[in-house]
Assembly symmetry: C2
């Protein structure tokens, strides 16, 4: 996924700016408005438009979230979903993560000197936190005629920015209901309503999608021209993730049936 | 995957040290020899022994690799495989990633002041790079009777440490052959051998598994005791990733058949 097939962005090279046309979602096309997410390796596989980014984000629910703690990188899996022009992340930033006070000067992050202002407490609840959120779907093995051209078919999105904690309890309640509905359509209707204590006790962050890039590798292997004459098998071995059969809880109350929203997912592809 | 169900480590709290007994693989049990990877949230789901860590790592081949560039986190997907007590990563660290000169003083990273010594060039090929490598397998949706107790079944490993580039070309060639054999058993035998130019042109890093933690959530939802009386369906919806039917390259030379190693994967679970 790296080197010739790799995903990588750069902060120093010059970049072609995308046009400023708006997309149907009403937001500016994502990146490379900021250089951080510009894809340098295999740039023909990159895209920055909202439709490409959103399609990949909406096909999953687990992201890998990177933070910086005491100058060291830290990556954890987190549940996410997209809400319009932002990602909603379930959980708080890890303790010790670099945070900054929420600034009203949008779009002027002073990257490059961030660690000088790092607080190591992780308790500044009103502060924004610098995150890199990466979502990857692995679609198959690309088996070429040489080891060098072996690759992986995948779709991935990298989002960089500053996440704010969702502190308003009414907003947070709505978001938490949306989360279960992202997993299973209509799920929140069936559940015991959340208590105020539960809403207060759950951390949720929102990260703007203003700076995001998508990268996709698909299709057959691409071999050196002279290698196509070799009697070596090459092709793609697809991978897919599907929902299996429901395992009902042993402690179900009486004659409770599997809801339609759940049953409708069985056998389907993620 | 965060908060009550979350994976998180801490650098400040005191930790119970694991015993020093050696595992069958001959290496010290991983963590919490260093505090970075100690799991604080839901610690009952954590383990630090090599067998648990290795089993999860050996069940996949795409990791999310976190680095720090100019104080900002950056996460990309990379191909990996485990070779004994280390992870081998296909690719180079992103340009601008924090690096340090390779030190012979093993085990004495001066974390906490790292950014003071950051170089921003990304060209110090002999230098080690500070990485966090996270591998996550999503096993199912955990659908509880309340939104609060919804969760995800997963297996994940977090590895932190300093990766060294594999600069020896003979070692690198061996490692690159192993990579294709990790994807498909026996694959390297069938391929056109790598040229010296290809070996020189491919970056590979090795990361020790000395500091790693595993975290696993499995089984049914765990609801509040009083909620078990509610007529609400609850259970687990499993997710599995399987290999589909082979798609042979359109430009195969003559009567080349699908190799046994490839055919043997079809229909199987990752």
């Amino acid at each position: 996924m790296q080197t010739s097939e790799g995903q990588r962005s750069a902060t120093r090279s010059s970049a072609t700016q995308s046009s400023g046309s708006r997309t149907s979602s009403g937001r500016e096309p994502v990146g490379p408005s900021r250089e951080e997410v510009r894809v340098r390796r295999a740039p023909q596989r990159a895209s920055y438009d909202a439709a490409s980014v959103n399609a990949i984000l909406d096909s999953g629910f687990v992201a890998h979230v990177g933070t910086v703690r005491s100058g060291v990188p830290f990556v954890i899996p987190m549940f996410y979903f997209r809400r319009g022009d932002e990602l909603v992340l379930h959980g708080a930033a890890p303790a010790g993560t670099f945070r900054r006070a929420v600034s009203t000067e949008a779009g002027t992050p002073d990257g490059g000197t961030t660690d000088g202002g790092a607080t190591d407490g992780g308790t500044t609840d009103g502060g924004a936190v610098s995150l890199c959120v990466t979502v990857t779907h692995v679609d198959g093995l690309v088996l070429a005629r040489s080891a060098f051209h072996h690759s992986i078919n995948y779709r991935s999105v990298v989002v960089m920015g500053e996440a704010r904690p969702i502190t308003d309890l009414a907003e947070r309640r709505t978001v938490l209901d949306s989360m279960v509905d992202v997993l299973v359509p209509g799920r929140s209707r069936d559940l015991r309503p959340m208590t105020d204590k539960e809403v207060r006790g759950t951390s949720v962050m929102a990260l703007p999608l203003a700076t995001a890039s998508a990268k996709v590798r698909e299709g057959p292997p691409i071999d050196d021209e002279e290698d196509y004459d070799l009697p070596i098998w090459a092709g793609v071995l697809p991978l897919r993730t599907t929902y299996g059969e429901v395992v009902s809880d042993e402690r179900l109350h009486g004659e409770v049936r599997v809801p339609e929203g759940v049953a409708g997912l069985v056998g389907g592809q993620l």
